[in-house]
């Protein structure tokens, strides 16, 4: 049920028209929006066609992350929401792809910088703890890195703790708004036509 390419292009163009109509849009912002419109048609569709593409060709489709960064985000997302006996995890739900797309169009450079720096921190911590970069560490070592970052989730202080909160919230939102998250994992039953509301009618005693 993903949007067709034409619909998606329509969205970008509508955004552009809106931006054009607004007096407050600066030249730089206009150019960014315009750039977004050019790139949009090259975006791979989630699902069917592209899944069989070789890894190299897929890498070209990343809009913000480098191939190495993308692989790391993909791995981190799967560590946060893994495939388990109940349902597929973040990797299957293409969470990294969605985050990449959103970061590429983010307003201003702050979120981009936070992610770029944050991923470097993950490697640094892994080097410190495991003596090797994150992607070269073992599964247990990777979990150890993430555990250290997650220590102060409710009150993050250090940059890596703050990055964990950002990372998890983006991963969680992307996963639980995906087809996999809504239908397979949470087995959501709503958004369906009902002749009668579900539950108990208390007007009948």
């Amino acid at each position: 049920m993903a949007k067709s390419e034409d619909e998606r292009r329509g969205d970008v163009e509508a955004g552009r028209r809106e931006a054009n109509a607004t007096s407050g849009v600066g030249r730089r912002e206009m150019m960014k929006l315009a750039a977004g419109a050019v790139i949009a048609p090259a975006l791979p569709q989630t699902g069917q066609k592209n899944s069989r593409r070789p890894a190299k060709a897929q890498n070209k489709a990343h809009r913000f992350f480098t191939p190495d960064e993308f692989a790391m985000v993909d791995e981190l997302s799967e560590l946060i929401i893994p495939t388990d006996e109940h349902s597929p995890g973040a990797r299957a739900a293409k969470v990294a792809e969605y985050i990449d797309r959103r970061l590429a169009e983010s307003f201003g450079d702050e979120p981009k910088l936070q992610w770029r720096e944050g991923l470097k921190l993950v490697d640094q911590i892994s080097a410190e703890m495991n003596g090797r970069p994150f992607m070269q560490a073992s599964q247990d070592q990777r979990v150890a890195v993430l555990s250290r970052m997650a220590r102060k989730e409710s009150n993050p202080e250090k940059p890596e703790e703050k990055f964990f909160v950002e990372l998890k919230s983006r991963v969680a939102r992307a996963y639980y708004t995906s087809k996999t998250g809504i239908h397979d994992e949470l087995e959501y039953k709503g958004n369906t036509y009902l002749r009668e509301f579900a539950g108990v009618d208390v007007s009948k005693g």
């Binding site: 407050g24 849009v25 949470l186 009668e196």
Partner: protein
């Protein structure tokens, strides 16, 4: 399917040479009702709306899955929704120095916001100043009714005669029996869902098919009943059995009623365009001009009466005048007060209708904040059920200061709440950690929470007011409102009790408290601003009479929430419409008699 909207002629074709019988400023609950009643009574009526016309049938997409939307329902990246922190730590105008190209109020802040971004105003164009206040405005045909929360409650004599009961403030110049018939008319015309409870302090409506409760909610209802309190299914301003209106369908239990800044694209939930304005248009007596921001009520210096309004076309920025024999303000509580204050003339140096000096004063609303979420143990990890698709959960009417007198505060509060599974459950964001445990936690808790949030009456106080900022102007060069408004001691004490009571009820039901919020949310959070041009019998202490007619200018009416004498603790939309209907019946009658 519902019928398509009628073909309303282009704004530029509106005849501005003509003298209309009435001009209605604003098209929300109050303006829509005024247009409906006056046009139905045969009066040639011109409706002016500051915003544009938005086809909400197309715009709201309430059945769209998040993954069908390029940003999963979120706004484009150059738009920013103000956060609670920004309202707390910064001062208005909140959009000032903000990097984003567009700024919106907090109602755009959670998921689903992309669908209503064109309905709520861009704060950059519509600043205000003064004390902290989360002022949510919708400038478009239908105003906030396009996204309202739908809770449709009646007031009673506990509210209309509150001053006689506890000695604070003023009574309304009406009592329940004056407005009962009009509540009935609103129920029948627009449709309302609910269950009869026979409570003297929350009169029943003429209800259609009720919303059903899930097991934890039924359990809480039974628990509260033993405590002498009531939990009733959400009284939703939604037609569940259908109404005689080709633009609206009956609720079919689908759609994103839970989406923050909701809206109903089949118009089962009341909205002013389909419920009132389109039917009014079909009488042939209604002319509509959108993109018309009224800046002043014009005065005939010979008679002292209103002769029309001045407005700015927000597309061309050109100024125009429109003429009428009667002017009806329904621009929303604070905007109507702003308009009266802007309408200064030699005859009315303090603003039109403001000889009392009370315009802008006695500002009141509902205080929010105290909130408890609890775990329902036997739902933890339970098999998934269908609990969604309802226009609302439940309502717990006030139980304080009815027969007893609370020693700490006067007036009352009610709770809104609900339990059950939603599409994007809170457990996604509340469950700590990561990995399998996190994933299982989200899954197990997704349908296992029940929550209560309070809405309390904020007392009307003369010293809580708005006036015009002498320096700051909006995008169209119109002076903006400056707030002088703070919660008082009564609200703070009431909120302490609210949090205690919510905890007490959860405990009594055997639910395990997960989170408790005791603190007050920013002023304005309830989006129920009221008062500022109150009704009354004494022209020295009030702005309007019992028919929302200016004491000073007999052909000027103000039919929105600004006329309310106190806020009560019930959501105001149904009362706004019942009162507007009553006043416009009177207006049409007086007009025919030549008394205006």
């Amino acid at each position: 399917m519902q019928a398509a909207a009628p073909n309303i002629p282009n704004d530029r074709t509106v005849d501005l040479k003509k003298v209309y019988d009435a001009i209605v400023v604003g098209s929300g609950a109050a303006g829509g009702m005024a247009a409906y009643v006056l046009a139905s009574a045969g009066m040639k009526t011109l409706l002016l709306e500051a915003g544009r016309r938005i086809d909400t049938t197309e715009e709201l997409k309430s059945t769209e899955w998040p993954y069908e939307h390029p940003r999963r329902g979120e706004m484009p990246p150059d738009r920013h929704a103000l956060t609670l922190n920004e309202y707390t730590f910064r001062k208005p105008p909140y959009a000032e120095r903000l990097k984003a190209n567009h700024a919106h109020s907090y109602v755009q802040g959670w998921g689903g916001s992309d669908y209503s971004k064109n309905i709520v105003v861009d704060e950059k164009d519509h600043p205000y100043t003064g004390t902290n206040y989360a002022w949510v405005r919708a400038r478009c045909l239908g105003g906030k009714t396009n996204i309202w929360g739908r809770l449709a409650l009646r007031l009673s004599d506990y509210d209309f005669k509150a001053a006689s009961r506890d000695g604070y403030g003023e009574d309304w110049p009406i009592e329940y029996k004056d407005v009962e018939k009009y509540y009935d008319k609103v129920d029948l015309l627009l449709g309302i869902s609910g269950v009869k409870e026979n409570l003297p302090y929350l009169p029943d409506s003429i209800f259609q098919r009720p919303i059903r409760l899930n097991d934890p909610e039924v359990h809480l209802r039974n628990t509260l009943s033993k405590m002498g309190r009531t939990l009733t299914p959400y009284r939703a301003g939604v037609t569940t059995d259908g109404v005689k209106n080709k633009y609206r369908m009956r609720c079919y239990g689908r759609g994103a009623c839970n989406r923050r800044a909701g809206g109903c694209d089949i118009h089962a939930a009341f909205d002013s365009p389909t419920g009132l304005i389109f039917p009014a248009f079909e009488t042939g007596n209604l002319t509509i001009r959108t993109n018309a921001t009224v800046s002043e009520v014009l005065v005939d210096t010979n008679t002292g009466k209103a002769r029309g309004v001045a407005f700015v076309d927000t597309v061309t920025a050109k100024s125009y005048e429109a003429k009428a024999k009667v002017v009806v303000l329904a621009a929303s509580t604070l905007e109507s007060a702003r308009l009266m204050l802007l309408s200064k003339s030699r005859l009315y140096p303090n603003g039109i209708g403001n000889s009392s000096g009370h315009v802008g004063h006695n500002f009141c609303e509902h205080v929010m904040g105290p909130n408890v979420t609890a775990l329902v143990k036997d739902k933890d990890g339970a098999k998934r059920t269908l609990d969604d698709g309802r226009p609302g959960g439940f309502y717990i009417p006030r139980f304080r200061n009815l027969s007893e007198r609370n020693p700490k505060f006067i007036r009352g509060y009610g709770f809104e709440g609900g339990s059950g599974v939603t599409m994007l459950p809170d457990s996604v964001f509340d469950t700590p950690g990561f990995g399998k445990d996190y994933k299982k936690g989200v899954r197990d808790y997704a349908g296992a929470m029940i929550s209560l949030g309070g809405f309390g009456e904020v007392l009307p106080r003369y010293e809580n007011y708005v006036d015009l900022d002498p320096d700051v102007k909006d995008r169209w060069g119109i002076s903006v409102l400056r707030f002088h408004y703070k919660f008082g001691d009564n609200e703070k004490k009431m909120c302490e009790d609210m949090a205690d009571a919510a905890q007490e009820m959860m405990e009594a039901a055997g639910f395990t408290e997960i989170s408790l919020r005791r603190s007050l949310l920013t002023e304005g959070w309830s989006i129920h601003e009221l008062g500022v041009a109150r009704m009354g019998t004494d022209p020295k202490k009030s702005v309007l009479n019992q028919f929302q007619q200016s004491h000073d200018v007999k052909n000027l009416f103000v039919v929105d929430g600004s006329s309310h004498v106190n806020a009560a603790c019930q959501n105001p939309t149904w009362t706004i419409m019942a009162l507007a209907w009553r006043s416009c019946d009177y207006l049409a009658d007086e007009f025919k008699k030549g008394n205006l």
